[in-house]
């Protein structure tokens, strides 16, 4: 049986995607598509993704790299005549794709996003140096050295301007109540996974 234009995927999105219940409210005006600074680089603008969700194109949506291009600039959100929280829906769709393992391989933003989270989740605060290095080395050691060399001048400048501390590599900032913090995040994740039906 065809899943075309049945609501199964829409229902899944409503259940499992942040602010997913808004998807049905889109009226296909396209203002979001035209407002996105990275629009030119997307396969599918938000409004089209919403239509695809309504048309039941689950795989096409979840394997798309479109939502990973969101810079969280909120242009779409403030212009949407239906007040859809598009930025959040994009994040939510990306999250769903990631959780289901459907997001495109080597999606750099996805890698950065999870690195960022893991970085902050460890100590409660972001360690900018580790994050940057992590990003440079995401594609392996060799590439990482190259990336880091390419950005060397920037890094040195930052150090000079006292805005980057090489010592951050060995510890650095963090909160005191790490255990409470970790427990809190664990609990939040638990609740969310239950609600969104993630294993």
């Amino acid at each position: 049986m065809s899943e075309n234009y049945r609501n199964n995927f829409l229902k899944e999105v409503e259940e499992r995607v942040e602010e997913g219940h808004w998807v049905k409210m889109c009226m296909q005006c396209g203002v979001c598509a035209g407002s996105c600074p990275l629009g030119a680089h997307w396969a599918h603008p938000p409004q089209e993704l919403f239509m695809m969700i309504r048309a039941g194109k689950r795989e096409e949506v979840l394997t798309s790299d479109s939502m990973w291009m969101c810079t969280s600039c909120y242009n779409c959100v403030v212009r949407c005549p239906r007040k859809l929280p598009i930025t959040h829906i994009m994040h939510g769709l990306a999250n769903l794709a990631y959780r289901l393992g459907l997001s495109p391989k080597n999606q750099t933003t996805q890698k950065f996003a999870s690195m960022f989270w893991n970085n902050l989740a460890q100590t409660g605060r972001v360690n900018e140096l580790k994050l940057s290095l992590g990003m440079y080395f995401k594609d392996g050691f060799g590439q990482g050295i190259k990336n880091a060399m390419a950005m060397q001048s920037v890094g040195l400048g930052m150090v000079k301007a006292k805005r980057l501390n090489p010592m951050e590599l060995f510890g650095g900032h963090g909160i005191k109540d790490k255990s409470g913090f970790h427990a809190m995040l664990k609990k939040a994740r638990e609740i969310e996974d239950r609600r969104k039906n993630f294993a």
Binding site: M1, S2, N4, Y5, R6, N7, L10, K24, M25, M27, Q28, Q47, E48, M51, M52, R54, A55, K57, R82
Partner: protein, 756 residues
Amino acid sequence: MADMKVAAYICQGCGLGERLDTAALASVAKKEGKAALIKEHEFLCNADGIKMIRDDIANEAVTHVMIGACSRRAKTEAFGFTDVCVSRANLREGVIWSQPETEEARETTQEMAEDYIRMGCAEVKKMTLPEGDPAAVTERTLLVVGGGVSGMTAALEASKAGYKVVLVEKSGALGGWAAKLHKRTPGKSPYKDPQNTPVAEMAAAIEADANIKVYLNASTSKTSGAPGRFEIEISTESGSTTIEKVGAIVQATGFELYDANKLPELGYGKSANVVDQAGLEALAKAANGSPIKRPSDGGEVKTVVFVQCAGQRDDSGKHLPYCSGSCCLTSVKQAMYFKEANPDIDTVVIYTDLRMPGNGEDFYRSGQEKGVIFTKGKVSGVEAAGNQCKVSFQDLILNDQVAIDNADLVVLATGQVPNSGVDIDTKLKAEIAAAAGDNSLMEAYTASQQEGAVQPISMLNLTYRQGPDVPQLKYGFTDSHFICFPYETRRTGIYSAGPVRRPMDMVQAMEDATGAAMKAIQAIENAGLGRAAHPRSGDLSFPKVRLEGCTQCKRCTVECPFGAIDEDEKRFPLFNQARCRRCGTCMGACPVRVISFENYSIDTVGSQLKAVDVPDEFSEKPRILILACENDAYPALDMAAMNRNVYSAFVRVIPVRCLGSVNTIWINDALSSGYDGVMMMGCKHGDDYQCHFVKGSELANIRMSKIGDTLKNMSLEEERVSTFEVAITDIERVPQLINDYAALIQKIGMSPMKGF
């Protein structure tokens, strides 16, 4: 009426005193205009000037007043004496504001002014005060034809205003289309959910209303008379007939859905699971809140597809070309029926443009909130496959040819087709052409009647000369052509309401019906006072006809835009005053000039144009007569003058009620009096006509196309008579037209007819 005493008043204000020799004008009024009393005044429209005129009327027995001042459109109230005949010589806008303020122009400007004084005097002498109709009667009862929501609304609203109503409904119960609905779309905030229809409530109110008499299973088998005195023969299914006397009629005969059998490509007739909106309402009514079952097998409905614009907005000529304006709302409402019963049912609305204006947007949002899916697409076909249907369409957003192959139910949003009865215009047009000597249309019409084609059933069975129903505007709808005047049907005292007038939803139909009831009540009141209805509202004049001169040519009876004139047993025209709108088309049509109004006649215009002083052939001062529609061309001339857009001093302008009232005798008279040219300025005609009397300018155009023979007989160039379509905004174009025409006349030379 007492003996005629003409008084001429010449204003010196607004620069008239400086630009013109008013003493000379007074002398023209005296010597040529034969006015008994002549007064100049430095500021005629002020309280003192008005009092002077009033005193003369009271003390000097003045019966006819010629005012030489500004345009008749200015200071209308100040000079609006109702107890005497008044003519206005337009010296301000018509002369000093439209002529250059130069020494060289002084002579021609003065000549122009003197002519207008002559014309004003000549005109007023031919006028008599309209008497109205002393026998005017009126029946303070409305007939409402059609017992749907529109008809019921008209009846109830009229009753609330204190009028009696006779309501005729063809079926056995009130309610019409609305009675077939499970629910209606909301008509008030918050525009979220389907509502109960008002049918039961309204029907009960009608039943309880002593002012409203209802005939069920009945039709109007004969409608004769005129506003104020219609006689209605009501026939019931049982065969009985009753006569009701009413003053005005509201026609609320509603619509039928477009026949979905004409849409086999959308699966109608091929699967029981393809229904139209009425079919879906029937299913919903039967289900009454419980889940709607699949018609073919009573199975569970999991997927419903709504196909918008089915057989509508069609440019192939096969189906309805128009949009019915209400189907989008209806489909959203119907999708909600399913969502209310079970939110898991998939409802997809396939549309090209969703048309839900106003706070219909809230209803759209509400549909989306309830999970109705909207897809911009074009449906190419619906195929039945067992108990399901496959709906194939182009998804216009995803740019994809796709199909929904598991639809349990497909709802086709077909449009509204009005129940407007017989299209009388085809025959009428043929008759007009035949009267003008062209029989081809009549032959075609006769042929069409003989082919045994199914003829529509008349709604009103009017005994009118021009046919049994209200003329239709387009696609069978009986709407007005006028944007500013939606209730101007071409049958005075008969007003359309609801979807028979125009495709519409229930909210609009109720509003429309209330307005129609208002107009019907107004028609009743006006008929009682012998007054014209819009656009010459309040006019008490009325065509007077000298039947002894009539040749029974029928031109007046077929050309009257309002069907006001019937034919009596002896085939003489029978004027129905209360139907008449005082446009003068009959006067213009009459080849033997036996039709005139008291204050607007063959003579009032004829004497004006003859009063003009036509210089001889060698003067190099041609004379051009302009007959200008008083509603558009004349104001355009006034406003051109306000802008000081100057034009030729050789024109003399006479405002006419409508170009349709222009009788060719005026043209003949002008030419034989030595005018060098005649310009006729009327409104745009054709499909988007702007003539306030519907076809006056078009008729004038037809008549003038035949004036060529006359010109030939007089050995005159055909350019000497020209018609122009002029709009009220043509404040630069009109002076240009005049100047171009004056140049043309100069080129072809002066008329050889001068001095005869």
